[in-house]
Symmetry: C3
Subunit: 119 residues, 3 copies
């Protein structure tokens, strides 16, 4: 199967080392990490915006992007859940997107070859 998918994980920074090792354990060989501010609506606090009770927090998050082809998307998601799921509000989100093409700049390889582990 030659479909390439980007898995984007929005997570709490303190779990990053564990996530990285777990991803490596399932054969992930590259990822891109960005600092982000996560903005979620936190219910249960008493704040009001135009009469509606809300509180919007900005929390430090990491955005981890992993483009996969050979490693199944569901295996990446299960691995992220295993490491990141605590059952508490704010554990994070995962989004997936279709990748049209990939290029390994060093070699010029295109498509799935570009994201396979280079020999």
């Amino acid at each position: 199967m030659d479909k390439m998918t980007k898995v984007e994980i929005i997570m709490n920074p303190e779990k990053f080392e564990d996530l990285k090792e777990a991803m490596n354990g399932i054969g992930i060989t590259g990822m891109t990490v960005t600092n982000a501010l996560g903005c979620g609506l936190q219910k249960g606090h008493k704040e009001y915006y135009r009469g509606v009770e809300v509180e919007i927090n900005l929390k430090q998050k990491l955005k981890v992007e992993i483009v996969v082809c050979e490693v199944p998307v569901d295996r990446v998601i299960e691995t992220a859940l295993r490491i990141l799921q605590t059952g508490s509000i704010g554990d994070g989100k995962i989004f997936t997107y279709e990748v049209v093409d990939a290029v390994r700049i060093r070699t010029g390889e295109r498509g799935p070859e570009a994201i396979k582990d280079p020999k």
Copy 2:
């Protein structure tokens, strides 16, 4: 309708509080914010690159990402325009992308359920 879409807004940082409140007002409950440098070609200044008159500026921008399903994409775009449109050069850009899947890490919920406001 179960289609999920990512709306990516590249904007001037000073308007962020207004944008956040307006998005909350239309039912948006989560967003991810990243610092970025925007690079636009500014015409009208006298600078030359290989004989072509250009000036490329790097300006501090915010990238705001909002994945929606129930809230219509057009409502998000209209809301962003209402807050961000001043008519001046550099007001920003919006791009939209299809989201294949979403996961709420706390519960393991997948698809549109994962981005609906948790009860």
Copy 3:
């Protein structure tokens, strides 16, 4: 052709000025740049994770995002390869994605018009 594509280039920061000028030279008039940490599996060092030899490094990278319509994606990729390819491990990666819609906030223009050079 009215298809819009995002080209995402993960690259070493020191080449950014050259890349920017080269992209300008092929008619690119906007891009968005983010600091990122690149995580690649570097073979050849002796480290072990659960019995498997690995070393995962986090390296400072830039993520450069360019949404194109008129300028062909392949021209952007060839230009990036020309500037960034040294043949050394870690030269970077390029990923492309379909863009569903674009909006120029200043004018409200939608679709390909929104990313064409404003007159």
